[in-house]
Amino acid sequence: MKILVAVKRVIDYNVKIRVKADHSDVDLTNVKMAMNPFCEIAVEEAVRLKEKGVATEVVAVTVGPKAAQEQLRTALALGADRAIHIETDERVESLAVAKLLAKVVDEEQPGLVILGKQAIDTDNNQTGQMLAALTNLPQGTFASEVAVDGDKVNVTREIDGGLQTVALTLPAIVTTDLRLNEPRYAKLPDIMKAKKKPLDVKTSADYGVEVASKVTLLKVESPAERKGGIKVASVDELIDKLKNEAKVL
């Protein structure tokens, strides 16, 4: 079985973001970028399935600017066999990404597609579900466990208040939650080897997909700053403040 795994280049999760002075967007100049953490988990899961003999090939794909090839090389260093880069400098919304991925699914015919549940920049949490709808495949979102069993996959999902397990026919789309696995670090020899693995570069036009969206970003602002309050010296003072000043007790 072939596994397709989608990754996204995003701001590093440790970086504190700044809004541009003209409020047009978040300022990403000279900011450290990295693979979206949920995508790392997706790559790890695909590679583990290959190591277990469930998968025979892992193909990584990304939609993004030229620099996003760094993240594909990371995926290759972590164990993906080859990569597809759909290059674009435009802001590509989840729907257009899902349309592009649907074309790749059509071409590659994977048995399983694994994506992160959300990217930590737009926090959309849409692409996997949209891909499932467009390809008419079942979806197991927010996965904390993935168990392939013959022509089915059991996906345990993190839902509000607990866990839910669903059985899906293959091929299927899975999106990862935090507890699915702990991604490994790429080792230096693997990083060197990854440079020689095949990486195809395509454009959205190659797939005949229009990436323009009908959603316009009008402005981006910093949230209302929360002012730090005071330190209290004792439990008694805390209770007094909560009762008489904040009036929440």
Binding site: I120, D121, D123, N124, P138, T141, D160, R179, K214, L249
Partner: protein, 308 residues
């Protein structure tokens, strides 16, 4: 304008989130219908009919919609969406699971986690873990939106909407329900609680979370946790408050042994009053706390419990 709100269910009953989503629909303006889909959902449909501002409750009561699996739910929404300009759901794990399928099948974008309504086509939503707020305008013919419930106060329950059965039954040979394990608790649900007390890595282990129980009992609080505490295995993941966990905005939020990573702050910084208890006086949590108490939580918690 005509708006369809997908009702959230919790163990077959109407979940509190729905009243917040109806409030968001009122902010958009227009006729509001609520879709209650599931198996054995008559009680939930009756509860939805009482929500203020709702004209009609459409009830899809069929085994096909049991457990609200994404594939049949998506097909049902596609079937009904033609009657509406907006389809809304809460940004719960159900709303997030189902709504993007509708958007994709109608070839429109989705706006996720909306916290404010400027007009019928312009909305506010947090990005980058809430560290920026985007104003976005959608020119799609159908607006598909998930609502962050903390952004809208719940509507009242003095309404009397009509109910109408939906006959459409979705085929689904692709997915089936296997099992569900929901945490059993007498405490209020994390998303809707007026008081939340959360523990972090500083709690040391899962056993020590019991120190929060007595305080939670006295305050009628829900108990949450930071991602660090969840990742360390102290408590189950459904207790996680943060960017990728629950987003809460209670009257009072008490953070115990939580340093205050931005991912955690994203989940609780809209709380009305924040209390931080931490032994590290430099911890970032104090920068957002209204009241900070520096000290050993193992001494402070028992004292707090006894004095409340």
């Amino acid at each position: 304008m005509s708006i369809l709100v997908l009702a959230d269910l919790h163990e077959g009953q109407l979940a509190g989130a729905t009243a917040h989503v109806v409030a968001a629909a009122q902010a958009i303006g227009g006729d509001i219908d609520v879709l209650v889909a599931g198996e054995g959902v008559q009680a939930a449909a009756e509860a939805a009919a009482k929500l203020d501002g709702v004209s009609k409750v459409r009830v899809a009561d069929n085994a096909a919609y049991a457990h609200q699996l994404a594939e049949p739910m998506g097909a049902l929404l596609v079937e009904l969406a033609g009657d509406y300009t907006h389809v809304l759901a809460s940004a719960s794990t159900t709303g997030k699971n189902v709504l993007p399928r509708l958007a994709a099948l109608k070839d429109v974008s989705q706006l996720s986690d909306v916290i404010g309504v400027e007009s019928a086509d312009t909305f506010l939503r947090p990005i980058y873990a809430g560290n920026a707020i985007a104003t976005v305008k959608s020119d799609d013919a159908l607006k598909v939106i998930t609502i962050r419930t903390t952004g809208f106060d719940a509507v009242g329950t003095s309404g009397s909407a009509t109910t109408e059965a939906v006959d459409f039954v979705a085929d689904n040979a692709q997915s089936s329900f296997v099992k569900q394990e929901l945490a059993q608790s007498d405490r209020p649900e994390l998303g809707g609680a007026k008081v939340v007390i959360s523990g972090g890595r500083g709690m040391g282990n899962g056993e020590n979370f019991k120190l929060l129980d007595g305080i939670a009992d006295k305050l009628g609080a829900a108990i949450g946790a930071s991602r660090a505490a969840v990742d360390a295995g102290f408590v189950p993941n459904d207790m996680q408050v943060g960017q990728t966990g629950k987003i809460v905005a209670p009257e009072l939020y008490i953070a115990v042994g939580i340093s205050g990573a931005i991912q955690h702050l994203a989940g609780m910084k809209d709380s009305k009053v924040i209390v931080a208890i931490n032994k590290d006086e430099e911890a970032p949590i104090f920068q957002v706390a209204d009241y900070g108490l520096v000290g050993d939580l193992f001494e402070i918690l028992p004292e707090l419990e006894s004095k409340l």
